[in-house]
């Protein structure tokens, strides 16, 4: 096993100009992750769990520290300082991000959405089509929904679509940002099964989950944001 | 070998021209050139202005030759000027040296130097004067001597060559910005064809030689709704301008050594046009701008219309045809417009045959 990700002294604060205020979200975070591992991040609400994931994904600009990632394409890189172009490449090929929210074009069908993700990686259209169908089947989205617009989906359906989009690219690292937050128990269970399958398939994962029970037995290790230690 | 002759238009042309002469002289009435220059002032002025050639003598010949057809008379003069050498350019004429014969302002009730009506049709009642039927030379003579002998009230030192301009008065008041003399060499549209966008000198030259009717119509359109000029006549002057030229070969620039060559009569108009401008604080402010018009002879509506179009073209936003320099400048010339309209009289049967062929083929195509 080799190291896939190492977060070193990561800090992030936000300057709110119109309030002339600086809000610190996380400070000197340190943890690392081996290939194939699943790390869970815990901490009470507002402790900055999501900030950590968004910093890794670069939706937030990391302020201090480094996020070393061992890329298949670029070798060892610091995600905190990597060029936007390279971040975009990694997003398309190596790092996936799943949240409970679905951000999609209004007139795009579920099938097209998953296809897009493959096409963005530069694959031909028919290959994308096949991959999309496989993913949607795999994540048990009712085929009747494939050609309708996702705005109308239930929370669980949206999430499974989200995961399909992320997974279809076969990312090496998948970031799960409270994907189950608004799901009922039955749906949660299905998501858990999906994650287990991913893990078995060798995907490296970082997850934040609203309820700690959900993480039980799923994570290899857990990082506590308040104590700043891996438990 | 047999010889085939072509019978055509040559004879017909000769006969047509004879016929024209017949029309002019068959009533056996003689019109002296002097009669034209002495009594047809309006027509002579219009012809000189539209042909852009100041000569009462040549205008009179042209009017006589064209039987009073202004379009044709202008044409004759324009063609004649192509055959004459242009030997001199005058020194810059400053219009404040004008010997004023008439001068009015619509902007002020009274102006320094006074409103001088001069000779004007403005206040004549347009009633037919049947006395003209029996007008006699003796009667005319008597009227003139009576007119000239009338007591003239003594006005202190009249000097109509140094009347102050209304615009100068307003510039003093800072209602107009002071403008430095711009001595950029003008372009002569008769030596260089118009290139768009044009310079101010080209526009003014084309406007002043424009056809009176065309210029008036477009000026009217610009103030009626198809333009955005709302002018007040600041000053209208009719009078004579003295002309000077420098010695052709002596290099000296000494004006004392100039030749005076005579004077020409012109009508000059400055129209005041309110415009809204942005001031330094970026707020809108009203300011006056000047539209300028001048032309040969006494042609007052034409000069006013030129001043309107001058301003219109300076604005030049093309929202209206009257602000579009191509629209205005390319269509107001008498010789060009009348020539092209009249060319429609020429036979066009080759082009028509070609059109027929095209239409027949399209018809066949659609019947397929």
């Amino acid at each position: 096993m080799s190291r896939l990700l190492e977060v070193k002294d990561l800090s992030k604060s936000f300057i709110i100009h119109h309030l002339t205020k600086k809000m610190t979200a996380i400070e000197t975070i340190n943890f690392s992750l081996e290939e194939g591992e699943f790390i869970g991040i815990v901490g009470k609400s507002g402790s900055g769990k999501s900030t950590v994931l968004k910093s890794i994904y670069r939706t937030y600009l990391p302020e201090k520290g480094s996020i070393l990632y061992n890329s298949e394409k670029f070798g060892l890189v610091d995600l905190a300082k990597l060029s936007e172009r390279e971040v975009l490449y990694l997003r398309q090929h190596e790092i996936g991000y799943v949240s409970q929210f679905l951000n999609v074009m209004p007139r795009t069908t579920a099938r097209e959405l998953v296809e897009q993700a493959v096409i963005e990686m530069g694959r031909p259209k028919d290959e994308a089509r096949q991959a999309a169908e496989d993913a949607l089947t795999h994540f048990e989205l009712d085929p009747e929904l494939w050609d309708s617009y996702p705005n109308t989906f239930s929370g669980g359906q949206k999430l499974r679509l989200n995961i399909s989009c992320a997974i279809v690219k076969k990312p090496r690292l998948l970031l799960l940002d409270e994907p189950t937050a608004s799901l009922d128990d039955a749906s949660k269970l299905r998501v858990r099964e999906i994650i287990e399958r991913l893990k078995i398939g060798g995907t490296t994962l970082i997850g934040i989950f609203h309820d700690l029970e959900f993480m039980d037995g799923l994570c290899d290790k857990v990082y506590d944001l308040q104590k700043k230690i891996v438990v | 070998m047999a010889y085939v002759a072509v019978k055509g238009g040559a004879e017909a042309i000769e006969e047509s021209i004879k016929r024209l002469t017949y029309e002019r002289i068959h009533a056996n009435e003689l019109l002296e050139l002097e009669t034209i220059t002495a009594t047809m002032r309006g027509m002579v002025d219009q012809v000189m202005s539209e042909s852009s050639l100041y000569s009462e003598f040549l205008a009179a010949i042209a009017i006589k030759q064209s039987e009073g057809n202004v379009e044709e008379a202008v044409f004759l003069l324009r063609a004649h000027r192509s055959t004459l050498p242009r030997t001199y350019y005058t020194r810059v004429v400053e219009t404040n040296t004008m010997a004023v014969e008439r001068r009015i302002s619509a902007s002020f009730k009274d102006i320094p130097g006074g409103q001088i009506l001069g000779a004007s049709y403005d206040y004549t009642h347009r009633l037919m004067d049947f006395d003209l039927i029996g007008e006699s030379k003796a009667g005319m003579k008597e009227w003139v001597s009576q007119f000239l002998s009338e007591e003239i009230e003594t006005t202190t030192n009249p000097d109509l060559t140094t009347l102050p301009k209304v615009v100068e008065y307003l510039r003093g008041e800072k209602l107009f910005s002071q403008i430095e003399d711009d001595n950029t060499e003008p372009i002569d549209v008769t030596k260089q064809s118009l290139q768009f966008p044009t310079t101010r000198s080209e526009r003014l030259q084309v406007l002043t030689r424009g056809q009176t009717g065309a210029v008036t119509s477009l000026g009217y359109a610009a103030i009626r709704g198809f333009g955005q000029v709302h002018p007040t006549v600041g000053e209208l002057r009719v009078g004579k301008l003295p002309l000077w030229i420098s010695h052709p070969t002596e290099q000296s620039d000494d004006e004392e050594n100039d030749y005076y060559i005579g004077e020409i009569k012109v009508t000059e108009v400055e129209s005041f046009v309110p415009v809204s401008v942005q001031n330094e604080n970026n707020t809108e402010e009203m300011e006056f701008e000047i539209g300028y018009g001048i032309c040969y002879g006494q042609n007052e509506t034409k000069a006013i219309a030129i001043s309107i179009l001058d301003h219109s073209l300076e604005v030049g936003k093309k929202e209206y045809p009257t602000q579009d320099e191509e629209f205005v400048l390319l269509h107001i010339d008498s010789v060009e417009s009348s020539g092209f309209i009249s060319h429609l009289k020429l036979p066009h049967y080759v082009t028509f045959q070609s059109k027929l062929d095209s239409m027949r083929k399209i018809k066949k195509e659609s019947e397929k």
Partner: protein
């Protein structure tokens, strides 16, 4: 990653007016927003530099007067730049500053390499010519001389943008705003330009129409791999379309980054204000 950008813009400057002692020197210029209060010179674009890469959509966001549309017009040669350079990979091997080329060459670049979709379809379409003719015009400009082929291509594109083929001979003036915009997009795409400029293309359209136009753009980009520069004052549009985003204010680039980063973690006070007003 060392692939050469498809379009490189360096230090593009555009000013209206001559400048004066107060504002001519960029180092210590005293101006209000983008114009000099003394001489009224407007500095519409100041030192704009960026790269556009193959297959990406780059968003440019800013309020009116920020210089974003002027920038676009300069790149499409609708306006002459005051200073600066730009290089297009597929033109002269990307070695020639396109701004220094003649108007004849500019026309060539527009016809063969660039596409433009204007906010107002009147600028991009001939309203009195048929829709198919409009598309053919761009193909003709790019050297096509076969009527049948152009007709086919036009049909294909009109279908692509969901204009019924039955209406292909109709003039755009008979169409709704959304349809006109779609014809304009079809026209801009007709000769497969590697670079497409879109200037406020959904502004003024109904919401539902906006959505279909945005979707169309995204689909085209995905399928044809065209690089696009999208100018909009509307962050929602930028969010939908752009991978990366540039924020402009008063003629300057104040911030640039990944679109989701700009939206979720804006750095500049102005961008924050813009983002907060969106939510």
């Amino acid at each position: 990653m060392h692939d050469k950008p498809i379009l490189q813009v360096r230090n593009l400057k555009k000013q209206y007016g001559p400048g004066c002692a107060d504002c001519a020197d960029p180092a210590n210029r005293i101006i209000e927003k983008n114009h000099c209060p003394k001489c009224q010179t407007v500095y519409a674009c100041r030192n704009i530099s960026f790269d556009l890469h193959e297959g990406e959509i780059l968003g440019i966001v800013g309020e009116s007067g920020s210089g974003k549309s002027t920038l676009m017009k300069c790149l499409y040669f609708d306006e002459a730049v005051t200073d600066g350079k730009a290089f297009i990979r597929s033109y002269q091997g990307g070695q020639t500053n396109i701004f220094e080329e003649s108007s004849q060459q500019h026309r060539f670049i527009r016809n063969y390499i660039l596409g433009m979709v204007y906010q107002n379809p009147i600028l991009g379409l001939k309203m009195d010519f048929s829709s198919v003719g409009n598309i053919a015009e761009k193909l003709i400009a790019a050297g096509d001389r076969r009527v049948k082929r152009m007709e086919e291509r036009s049909k294909e594109l009109l279908e692509h943008v969901h204009i019924p083929i039955a209406r292909m001979k109709d003039e755009p003036k008979k169409f709704s705003g959304g349809m006109q915009q779609r014809v304009q997009i079809a026209k801009a795409l007709s000769n497969n330009p590697p670079i497409l400029f879109l200037d406020e293309v959904t502004t003024g359209l109904d919401l539902s129409v906006q959505a279909s136009v945005l979707d169309l753009i995204k689909r085209i980009q995905r399928e044809l791999g065209i690089s696009m520069l999208v100018v909009s004052h509307d962050l929602a549009v930028i969010r939908m379309l752009a991978n990366r985003t540039i924020v402009m204010l008063n003629g300057e680039i104040i911030e640039q980054g990944l679109t989701d980063q700009i939206l979720e973690d804006p750095q500049h006070a102005y961008t924050q204000q813009l983002v907060y007003s969106l939510i």
